[in-house]
């Protein structure tokens, strides 16, 4: 995979990255090669030249990177820039995006040891966040974000092992945060049906890791045989109508051929609202040592989705998130046929620019006058101009309106919203960074942050690459700053330009 540096390569941009060995900040060049692939090249004064492939298609990379997220700085910064991104997190004054997805790590305990796990856990003398700390954390989040905050992600370790995880759910609702998702491997939920029932009663949402239908791939990625258990978990979530997000991690040559099948399952199950495809990242207790030949780039994953769904989602069906760096999130929305027919990507009846505008200031598509007008325009255009699939799209949209606004009796707004949410499924492709692919331009625009009871927060990739390994809560032998990730070595904390 290595590409020799040559004079025929084209510089796309410069950034600051990390040395993959010492994690020191170093300058990096992003270049396009004659075969159109995009590479990050950098050189650590101590550990020599390094490179990593970022995309297969330079034209896609440049076009995607050109989309600028809407400016939305954090309402409160915790730290001035001292060392430079990503070494001043809190957030620092150079961070440009507020938190759209607060991530709260409530436990260090996990009942799996996944070979691809991108965080570090600790089962001996484990950390469990206390109820008071959780309350303080919520107070900070609500104070900083007010009514804008309607989403929180509770994770671990395995958060369902925390003795109070259901209490935390209730506290979130009391704080006015209604979309509370539990990021889980599903083992406890599959084994203890009463927990799923209780989750449903509390209107909790589940983000379930689901990487493969195949025994071999399942074992390679999760270190256990979990396919039957995951399917049982999904059946229970469907039985109790729990809003669910499927999270498959895509790896080259292991499970990338299955992505279409996983997405089709998410379209078919009524309670599955999203699929969030994560791309393998090499951080944490498992990922650091996982076979790096499985690395995939965002454009490769999008291409695999197109191939394995028979073109259902093509290159033109994706938009960037207005809330994040475009190389971090790609989003597609689909209109689902309740009779089981092939879903229709929104971009077949809405312009991509319109879909991007409708995402507005949110990570997810929300009801808004803009969305209403866009759909109204789409309906009128399809009706007046026709075109391929116009009749079927109109039929599906009319069916949706009839279910949202039944004429024989009113349903509540929440019920109508739920009908709409289940008719419009989203696929998110989320590319995390590791020390090899790290790019401060992306880090500075991150909207997913790990949040702390003292009100500070750290963007998730920065946290996974640099900060978690230094927390005693998650490490029996936490590392110190200036300690090399692969062993002890003294080096100076780098001072680099602001992100």
């Amino acid at each position: 995979m290595s590409q020799p540096a040559g004079t025929d390569e084209r510089l796309l941009h410069r950034t600051t990255s990390l040395c993959r060995i010492c994690k020191n900040g170093i300058p990096a060049r992003i270049v396009a090669l004659p075969d159109h692939s995009v590479w990050m090249r950098k050189e650590c004064p101590r550990h020599g030249p390094q490179e990593v492939r970022l995309a297969g298609d330079a034209e896609w990379y440049e076009r995607t990177r050109a989309v600028r997220p809407l400016p939305a700085p954090p309402p409160r910064v915790a730290r001035e820039v001292t060392h430079g991104c990503p070494f001043d997190c809190g957030p620092c004054t150079s961070h440009t995006q507020k938190i759209r997805l607060p991530v709260v790590t409530i436990t260090s305990t996990c009942n799996l040891e996944c070979p691809i796990c991108y965080v570090i856990n600790k089962n001996q003398n484990p950390y469990d966040m206390g109820v008071e700390d959780f309350r303080r954390l919520l107070d900070h989040l609500v104070r900083d974000h007010g009514g804008e905050l309607d989403l929180i992600n509770i994770t671990g370790g395995e958060p369902t092992l925390h003795p109070h995880f259901l209490d935390f759910l209730e506290l979130c609702h009391e704080a006015g945060i209604h979309r509370v998702s539990i990021c889980t491997n599903g083992i406890r939920l599959a084994q203890e049906e009463h927990l799923v029932r209780r989750l449903a009663e509390l209107k909790g949402r589940v983000a379930l890791s689901f990487d493969s239908f195949e025994t071999e791939a399942d074992y390679a990625l999760q270190g256990a045989h979990l396919v039957d258990l995951k399917l049982r978990c999904l059946d229970l979530l469907e039985k109790y109508d729990v809003d669910t997000t499927l999270i498959p991690v895509m790896t080259r040559g292991v499970n990338d051929h299955e992505i279409g099948r996983i997405l089709e399952m998410s379209f078919r199950r009524p309670n599955v609202r999203h699929a969030e495809v994560h791309i393998i990242t090499f951080t944490g207790q498992g990922g650091t040592t996982f076979d790096r030949r499985t690395r995939m780039t965002m454009d490769e994953v999008l291409a695999r989705i197109s191939e394995t769904t028979g073109g259902l989602l093509g290159p033109g069906d994706w938009v960037s998130s207005p809330c994040a760096h475009p190389l971090c999130y790609q989003i597609a929305y689909l209109l689902v046929d309740p009779d089981g027919g092939r879903p229709i990507p929104f971009t077949r009846f809405l312009a991509r620019e319109t879909l991007y505008e409708c995402l507005d200031d949110h990570l997810y598509l929300e009801p808004s006058p803009r969305l209403q007008n866009a759909l109204q325009d789409a309906i009128n255009r399809l009706w007046s101009e026709g075109g391929d699939g116009a009749e079927r799209t109109l039929t599906l949209l009319k069916g949706l309106l009839r279910r949202m606004f039944p004429s024989d009796r009113p349903i509540t707004r929440a019920e109508a919203l739920r009908v709409a949410e289940r008719a419009a499924k989203a696929v998110y492709v989320h590319s995390h960074m590791d020390e090899e692919t790290f790019d401060v331009e992306r880090a500075a625009q991150c909207c997913d942050s790990n949040c702390y009871p003292d009100g500070t927060s750290i963007p998730v990739c920065n946290y996974n690459v640099l900060y978690r390994e230094k927390e005693p809560r998650f490490n029996a032998r936490p590392k110190e700053w200036n300690e090399r990730s692969g062993g002890r070595m003294i080096f100076e904390l780098p001072v680099v330009q602001k992100g």
Binding site: P367, S368, P369, Q372, Q376, I379, N380, L382, W383, S384, L394, L397, K398, L401, R402, M404, F405, S407, D408, R409, P410, I411, T412, R413, E415, A416
Partner: protein, 247 residues
């Protein structure tokens, strides 16, 4: 309002829930004998009957569609047969569909016009036969603010409610000489019925434009209705009463 409708024999179409139920409850509290029709939701009808009976008035309850001429005729005849006449008819039964013109097929148009307009015509005609004979009666049609203001509304619903205005004015002219008044009340956005399904931004927009800065309550409309069908409202006919909080 207690006693305002003492002894009045009232029929409310679509009276099992929402605004229709509020009419029934308000009329019963004002001393009226109350009957109502329902079409599809038996549980609602059962609960409505219980709530009205709790006020001390045992209602007459009829199942059927107001678009069915035989049902309309039989319902009115049964009220007259049981109570010796009919004093008040409230044409409340109605439906809407949230459909843009592009998706509005002929069958959708017909359904909304049938329930909202033809239903009022059929029930009024059945009741008027007895009211004219009695030289007395009150007919109250339930319109909507969407027929009065340029506001986002399904066109067939707005057309149907506008048709009710014409129906009200023409019928008032025609039957006034028999002591029968025909009026229309056009409520604004209320905290019941279709409003519950609307996106929050639509409700916020309404509230921001409305002088009173809030949604209406069904009981507020029902209290006005008590006056409009009472003997106290003796010199008003063919009128349109808009109760929209000052849009």
């Amino acid at each position: 309002m207690a006693g305002a409708l003492e002894g009045k024999r009232c029929l409310v179409t679509g009276g099992s829930r929402g605004l229709g139920l509020e009419f029934c409850l308000a009329f019963a509290r004002a001393g009226a004998r109350v009957s109502f029709t329902w079409h599809k939701h038996e549980q609602d009808a059962r609960e409505a009957r219980t709530r009205i009976a709790a006020i001390g008035i045992e209602p007459l309850v009829f199942q059927g569609s107001v678009t069915d001429a035989a049902h309309a005729r039989k319902t009115v005849d049964e009220v007259v047969s049981r109570w010796g006449g009919i004093d008040v008819l409230v044409n409340n039964a109605g439906i809407t569909q949230v459909l843009p013109i592009a998706l509005l097929e002929e069958e959708d148009w017909d359904l909304v016009m049938d329930v909202n307009v033809k239903g009022a015509y059929l029930c009024s005609r059945a009741a008027l036969r007895h009211m004219i004979k009695a030289r007395s009666g009150r007919i109250l049609n339930v319109g909507a603010f969407s027929s009065e203001r340029v506001i986002e509304s399904p066109v067939h619903f707005a057309a149907a409610k506008s048709a009710l205005r014409g129906f009200t004015e023409a019928l008032a002219r025609e039957v006034g000489r028999y002591g029968v008044t025909v009026n229309l009340i056009a409520p604004g956005m209320l905290d019941v019925g279709m409003t519950q399904m609307l996106p929050q931004h639509r409700i916020d927009e309404y509230i921001s434009q409305c002088a009173l800065g809030r949604l209406g309550k069904a009981e507020e409309i029902a209290r006005q209705a008590v006056f409009l069908v009472s003997d106290a409202c003796s010199f008003m006919t063919g009128a349109k009463v808009v109760a929209d909080g000052g849009l």
